[in-house]
Symmetry: C2
Subunit: 232 residues, 2 copies
DNA sequence: CAATGTGAACGGGTTCACAGCC
DNA sequence: GGCTGTGAACCCGTTCACATTG
């Protein structure tokens, strides 16, 4: 019984997973789904599903479950996925090109409408159907295509400058893949994804589990460590 | 104090950020760094830095700070980055190719040693210097190169099958970019990154701020996440 | 004196368990 | 009977504040 309230960040982060899980039900199929089923589809547990959905409203039927179509509609509404948010990709290196072509973005309402790069050989041409502009064109590109989100896929050295330019152009949502800390104004929403960092977290567990066999994890049972040859 | 106990997951996830932040200090430079400085370099706050580092041991000097080199060494040791963990990339589409070429991986101790794809035109050739094999060769590739981590960058339909094959080949650390829930044995460490989901989280805030935006009451710039669009 | 190291307070998120309703 | 909706308990991580130490 909740029409207006605050949605916890942790819940917001899971809503897209629920929406994704609902993809298995055909639109208009009049299917019902229990919290247990949806939990499996989203990779969480049932209690979390019920709690999360309760923040949006009372959309289930006790003893039955949730109507898949209705739930999809309500989650979509909460997330605002009815809108499409045009993206500009900054930096057309390996990663930038892959992101610009990523079909999953457009499918979820985030079409890539333009790209930015500093390489004179790329500026003015189309790469995989995406027009590439120079940095100075950013503001006009944003205005022309009503860009809502900027993706930073530049080398680390160029990332802060790119962020600054995006902010100047009026962008308030940025997703960065650069492995450095970016500084942006408070009203700008910044999400940072560092792929190497993610791998290192995996590496921690890997490292720990390979030590098993020795007594404990007190730091002595290590193989020799190569100092000084460190990263970067 | 010093004896290493269990390190909280949240702390583990930040250790790579500290390591990354320490990159600004030249190796062997004998620099000292305060929790305040390191916090800025890693994008967190000072209390968190001190608490996190205290889980590793007492490596600082009161009134002075931390020795950058020593700290780098100790964090590296805790993370196990002295080792290198060879990677196999499964799925050489846009994203897979970008990941296979991502220089940041090798720099951080995760060299991509091979790739897997089902496309007969790709099997047997090298793409950007990475040898591409068919799925049936996975086990031998893993054994030959001592592969420790598998990256799944296949289409969603092929992701579960790929995960199964990686597990069969003895891989216990998997990073998946496929937008579905994968099922793996308990002893397998799985990290899922869904780029479209990340964007949708950004989209939520965008959507919220555009709804509330404009009708700005007093100077309070609070981010309230409101559900529903008000009365009717 | 300056900055670490750390108990203690705090707060958000997860889980429990059961009342409420179909 | 079955499943949702939700207060309450619980757990974990964050923040505070200060005693401690070079």
């Amino acid at each position: 019984m909740n029409s207006i309230g605050r949605i916890p960040d942790a819940t917001v982060a899971r809503l897209p997973l629920y929406l994704r899980g609902l993809d298995v039900f055909p639109v208009g199929g009049a299917a019902t789904v229990s919290s247990e089923e949806l939990a499996a589809l989203a990779g969480v547990n049932a209690a979390k599903v019920r709690k999360d959905l309760s923040y949006l409203g009372t959309y289930g039927t006790r003893g039955v479950g949730y109507d898949a179509d209705f739930l999809r509609f309500e989650i979509s509404r909460a997330l605002g996925v009815a809108n499409t948010w045009p993206i500009v990709v900054c930096g057309m290196g390996n990663l930038g090109r892959a992101l610009a072509n990523h079909s999953g973005f457009a499918e979820r309402g985030f079409p890539v409408v333009a790209a930015i790069d500093t390489d004179p050989d790329k500026i003015g041409v189309e790469i995989d159907g995406i027009a590439v502009y120079g940095p100075s064109a950013l503001a006009s590109v944003v205005a022309k295509h009503d860009v809502a989100v900027g993706i930073i896929a530049t080398p680390p050295e160029a990332a802060q400058g790119t962020a600054d330019r995006l902010v100047d152009a009026g962008i308030t949502s940025i997703m960065s893949f650069a492995p450095i800390v970016l500084t942006v104004p408070d009203d700008v929403d910044l999400r940072a994804v560092d792929l190497a960092t993610e791998l290192q977290i995996l590496g921690f567990h890997l490292h720990r589990s390979r030590l098993v066999g020795g007594a404990d994890v007190s730091g002595d049972r290590e193989r020799d460590l190569l100092v000084g040859e460190g990263p970067v």
